[in-house]
């Protein structure tokens, strides 16, 4: 009683170009695009090829979305929040201060209306977004001196971008935009006092522990940072339905694979960093509290003048409040016990 299958069609040859916003050296995050491209090629016997370019090979990393908007490239693998300069609402696709953790983001994207709301917003930029990876909760970054009070943030020159930087600016910090390769010398010379990057596995490669050994957590501006595949709308529409389905599953495949890879790689990297001299500190409670308060103020200010931002903000925050109601029960209860029981 199987339904008769549709007539099998031969697969048309399609060649796309994808720019990543990342260098090849960040193998976890750059690798997400490679996982997708391989899955698509393998699923089509090589008929649908997506050639993956590193940041800067075709377009600068932070202009990946623009290249998709104008159709220069069919797709990009990037972070939505890199484009908050165009509209702060872009932050909600990746991470925003005191937002969703990695698993909650997927819940919101796939089953909480998040993908629909984001794609409504991305439509103005002529692309659709498919979630395509996550780093998990990021670290709070590397500092030359300890941060003991909110007053220690005053005048602190920190390499941090986006909405997180604007929250810290409310507390007196001076956010700096510096490309990855320039952070180390700036920290070494003291041109900046601190810098955030990703987490142990990626941070280790840049060697910050040698010049700014105070390693803080958690990165409250990125409780879970999602990657997206952005696909030009016209190019998407031209694809056969089967290829759209293959891309959709390949993106989900890359999504779960990247989080798994970060989760597998971070523990050993953290051990090596601590052995090499990194000093772990939680942000002081008063810094966390003041940052939360400042983020709420900033969200209210932006929401007043930006309807798309407000719509996404309100959706994420309502979802978050329910998620943490549940999270505090089984998930946190289990993890907290397991951490207390380590070594037994």
């Amino acid at each position: 009683t199987l339904a008769a299958p549709a007539i099998a069609q031969s697969a048309p040859k399609v060649s796309w170009r994808l720019t990543s916003s990342f260098p090849k050296s960040l193998d976890t995050i750059f690798g997400g695009a490679e996982v997708l491209a391989k899955a698509v090629s393998d699923a089509t016997d090589g008929a649908f090829q997506i050639q993956v370019f590193a940041a800067g090979e075709l377009v600068p990393g932070l202009q990946a979305a623009d290249a998709v908007t104008n159709g220069t490239l069919e797709m990009a693998h990037t972070c939505s929040y890199y484009y908050v300069g165009k509209d702060p609402a872009f932050c909600w696709g990746t991470a925003a201060p005191f937002g969703l953790n990695g698993r909650m983001l997927n819940a919101w994207f796939y089953h909480g209306g998040g993908n629909e709301l984001l794609n409504e917003f991305y439509a103005k930029y002529n692309f659709i977004g498919l979630p395509g990876g996550n780093t998990g909760t990021q670290m709070g970054g590397w500092f030359r001196k300890e941060i003991k009070t909110v007053a220690d943030l005053n005048g602190l020159k920190m390499r941090i971008g986006g909405i997180g930087g604007r929250v810290l600016a409310k507390l007196g910090a001076v956010p700096q935009q510096i490309a990855g390769g320039d952070i180390y010398p700036a920290l070494e010379k003291g041109t900046i006092d601190g810098a955030e990057w990703v987490g142990p596995y990626d941070d280790e490669k840049l060697g910050f522990y040698k010049v700014a050994p105070h390693y803080y957590y958690p990165g409250w501006w990125e409780g879970g940072a999602a990657l997206h595949f952005f696909i030009n709308k016209a190019k998407w529409a031209e694809l056969p339905k089967a290829y759209q389905a293959i891309l959709t599953s390949a993106a989900a495949h890359a999504n779960v694979d990247m989080q798994a890879k970060y989760d597998a790689k971070n523990p050993a990297a953290l051990k090596r960093l601590v052995q090499a001299g990194a000093q772990l500190h939680p942000f002081p409670g008063e810094v966390m509290d003041a940052s939360l308060k400042a983020s709420i103020e900033l969200y209210a200010e932006i929401s007043k003048e930006n309807e798309p931002f407000k719509k996404l903000h309100d959706a994420v925050m309502a979802f978050r409040n329910d998620e943490y109601l549940w999270w505090q029960v089984a998930e946190l209860g289990y993890d907290a016990f397991m951490i207390r029981a380590r070594g037994r």
Copy 2:
């Protein structure tokens, strides 16, 4: 400079049957097989059809793996730990007491050597396994009376299977094997004192809160419970490479989708349960501690006489200890703050 794509081949028609170990009423967990089947059909213009059957339609839910082993069915969507009666080593594919949480399981499967180790073990049963979903940390179940001390476990008749049941038996409890539909009347009559099921969204459907209102957490026997797609090895080998790739990505797609669906559905269900009278309790510290100790003893006993079990146990526990070293930093730091800050 694109490599020349392989010659596109027309897609052969393939019809497979999949049995789920679950009834359709459990839409999250049963739905995982539907997500996979739709992704595969859409990716092949309907040429590769996987017809999904609920537990009992073709074979009983707990015999799903057997049907794949003997080739009666091409594949199943099930929990590896349902088959601990054949070999306790099956537990490591799903969840074992004080094992990995949901994200850590994916890290181990995809990037920690877990899939390779499990497939080496599953080969004896003539199938391969692809991870295909997760419930997240489960609840500890429903009890007619409060559990305040380890002594309260003595003689406690609880519906729980597998390795978790064997751990509780060491503490004096009397594990019971009861099918889902029979749990409610047994709790109502007092034939059993408690029962574990899944989490708020699934538990709500069975109405346990009316007859056993004490709802405990966390389910330390299932810090994250993974589903698997089991595929008959010969049937897998017969598939064109492209169909193998499509199935692989579709399974990963179903994997991330199921966890997202549980995470999206559980919070509202928990609220409704509490409003309806469910009383939330954490397991007392001494119960958690005694259970951990009993699990370590049981693992040592089984490992002494079962080499495949020992190999998987040792791999999971080494991975777990490193994971929680990292988890206590950024992930738990973030979640714990967010929970304390709820309502602000």
